[in-house]
Symmetry: C2
Subunit: 165 residues, 2 copies
């Protein structure tokens, strides 16, 4: 997995979308990319590229024409930061041996296991934050602080984010 500003842009835009969407999911008004672009100072065309991927990954739905825009395809609590980042950042295979384990020395690829599991752990961790968490901490003016899923209760969507500082 890769963590760059590209993923940041995507998460920021999705958070903006979540915050400007009506809380009533059924008849929520779609949010235009032009609006997100203005509010978050992200280039409209760049947003279009990002949302093209987000749509193909099933995270958002699009409505064309006047009054159209984007809506989240799932409830806020079911869209995680990990989902968003892996939707826009195409991941590279961390191994230089490319799956087959024909590396040097002991015959096995030292880095493969190491990075594969490390990637998984980070991904697991970022899966612990969803849009609902972020909206709450954003509207309450509190800094967001994430508790890994493995720590507290196994609940997925209704954890209350811990306030930091």
């Amino acid at each position: 997995m890769r963590l760059t500003t590209k993923g940041r842009f995507a998460v920021t835009a999705m958070l903006d979308l979540a915050m400007h969407e009506s809380p009533d999911i059924a008849n929520a008004k779609p949010v235009t990319l032009a609006g997100i672009s203005e509010r978050q100072s992200i280039s409209l065309s760049y947003l279009e590229q990002l949302f093209s991927r987000l749509r193909r990954q099933g995270l958002v739905k699009s409505i064309r024409g006047p009054g159209g825009g984007y809506k989240l395809a799932k409830p806020h609590a079911e869209i995680t930061v990990a989902d968003i980042i892996s939707a826009v950042d195409e991941q590279i295979d961390a191994t230089q041996c490319g799956g087959q384990e024909n590396c040097r020395d002991e015959g096995r690829c030292m880095t493969h296991d190491l990075w594969a599991s490390l990637n998984n752990k980070i991904l697991d961790y970022l899966s612990g934050v969803n849009l609902a968490d972020m909206v709450v901490s954003q509207t309450s003016g509190q800094k967001i602080s994430i508790t890994p899923r493995t720590c507290g209760s196994a609940g997925y969507s209704s954890r209350t984010p811990v306030v930091a500082n």
Copy 2:
């Protein structure tokens, strides 16, 4: 913070260094970059660039001349993955307002707090794995699995890594 193959190379090289260093820290033989380059198939000159940064950050010590090479500057347990990655990857400021909070809308920068704390969390998380952990899981042939510090006991260096799968 940024997570790319650059950091991966650095961690791989440091793990190789840790594994080929004599366990007795006092009179450990230095490891040459040429050796690491050969074992891990990383370009020698690229390693030189990486170790230049690692040295400036105080993670390794260098011995010049024949029989020279690099040694870890601290005990294995005191060098974390986060240390290594942040030594070679220069971090970017996640905010587009650049510190001052003169952004749009509500006057405050939405993305600033969000990414600052998310970065800190990831960094905190990667601080939970050190070279000693990785050497153990590597030599024992077990896949490494990291438990965040916040979960278990507050101990820093002597946690036993959990085996996954």
